[in-house]
Point group: C2
Chain length 183, copies 2
C-alpha cells in the first residue's frame, strides 16, 4: 500500500466549519515534539539522513520513539531505509544521544487534530513557529495511486482549499528555512 | 542504597546442591544477549565508555534496552553517568546504531539462574565462551557497606566457594581478554 497525501497552508477555523458541514468525524488530537539530531561524524542535511526522537502525547498517554531515515535510494524512487523503535524513556534516549556527541539541531512541535472524511484522513496541524496546515491522506495500491491522488485533491477542494498550493517540504524544512531567513 | 556484590568462578552443579541444602528459593532464569558497540568517533575502550543493546528473555517475555555508561567520574569514586531506556524493538535500535556508524565489538550471551537466600540474591551465570560464575549481591545503606560486604563473603563461603577468588572484571572484559589471548 502507498500513502497518498497532500499538505496545504490553511486557516483552521474555516476548515473546521467545512469539516462539520461535510459530516467528518473527529478522531482526537495528538501533540508531537520531534527533536532532530546532527551526527558528530557527518552533516545529515548534506547526507540526506535524519535522526529523530519523537515525544508524543495522545489522550493522556505519553510515548517516545527513535527514528532513523537513510538517504533516498536511487535517483527516481522516493524510497528510504527507515528504522524505528519505541522508547521507554525519551529523555534517557536524548541523554544517550547527547553523550555520544549528537547535537539537537531543531525541534518541531505540533498539535495534530485528526478527522475522518469518507476514506480520507484529514489532519489539522498547528506547527509552532511555522503556522497552520491541513493534510489530507489516503492509502492506495500501486495501480490506484493516480486515482487516489485525484480524490485527495478533490477532498482538499471540498474543504475550501487549493490543491495547487500543495507544500512538498517537511515542517522541519520550513522551520530551518525560517531560521535561515531571520536577520 | 548501594549494591554490594561479589562474583567468583564456580561449578554450578555443586552450588545448586549447596543452595538446595541451605533452603534457597528459585527465582527463575533470564537469558541476556548484550551487544557492545564502538563509536565511529572514539574508541570506547580508551575513553572508558560503553554503549550496549541488551535483549532479554524472561518467562517467555522478550524485552530490549539501550544503555550508555560514561567514564568514571573522578579518581576515587566508582560513579559513572548512566542512561538507560527500554526499547520496543531491539533489532531496529541495532539497525539505527549500525546506520550511524557504530560497530558491534562483542556480544556477551548469558543465562542467569536466580535464587534468594535470606537477604542475598544469588545468581548462577553461564556465560557463552567464558564459563560458569556465581554472583552474590545485597543492598546496603552507606554506613552498612562494610558489614554487607562481610555478609556477602560469608554467603559465598556457605556455597563452598572462596571469596578471595573474587573476579572484579566484567564478562565483557573476560571475553575481550580471551579473544586477545587467542592465537
Amino acid at each position: 500500500m502507498y500513502e497518498v497525501e497532500m499538505k496545504v497552508r490553511a486557516d483552521h477555523g474555516r476548515v473546521r466549519d467545512a469539516l462539520r458541514e461535510l459530516g467528518a468525524s473527529a478522531r482526537g488530537a495528538i501533540t508531537q515534539r520531534d527533536t532532530y539530531y546532527d551526527a558528530p561524524t557527518r552533516d545529515f542535511a548534506e547526507t540526506d539522513e535524519a535522526l529523530r526522537v519523537r515525544r508524543e502525547e495522545r489522550g493522556g498517554t505519553e510515548r517516545a520513539r527513535l527514528t532513523y531515515k537513510g538517504p533516498l535510494i536511487g535517483e527516481t524512487s522516493k524510497t528510504r531505509e527507515e528504522y524505528e523503535t519505541d522508547l521507554g524513556d525519551g529523555d534517557a534516549a536524548a541523554a544517550i544521544l547527547d553523550s555520544l556527541g549528537f547535537v539537537p539541531v531543531e525541534t518541531v512541535e505540533k498539535v495534530r487534530e485528526r478527522f475522518s472524511l469518507a476514506e480520507y484522513a484529514v489532519t489539522l496541524d498547528s506547527v509552532a513557529g511555522v503556522g497552520e496546515f491541513v493534510e489530507v491522506e489516503t492509502e492506495a495500491s500501486e495501480g490506484d495511486v493516480d486515482a487516489a491522488r485525484e480524490g485527495v485533491a478533490r477532498t482538499v477542494e471540498s474543504l475550501g482549499l487549493d490543491p495547487d498550493e500543495e507544500i512538498r517540504v517537511s515542517y522541519l524544512e520550513l522551520l530551518l528555512e525560517r531560521d535561515r531567513d531571520r536577520p
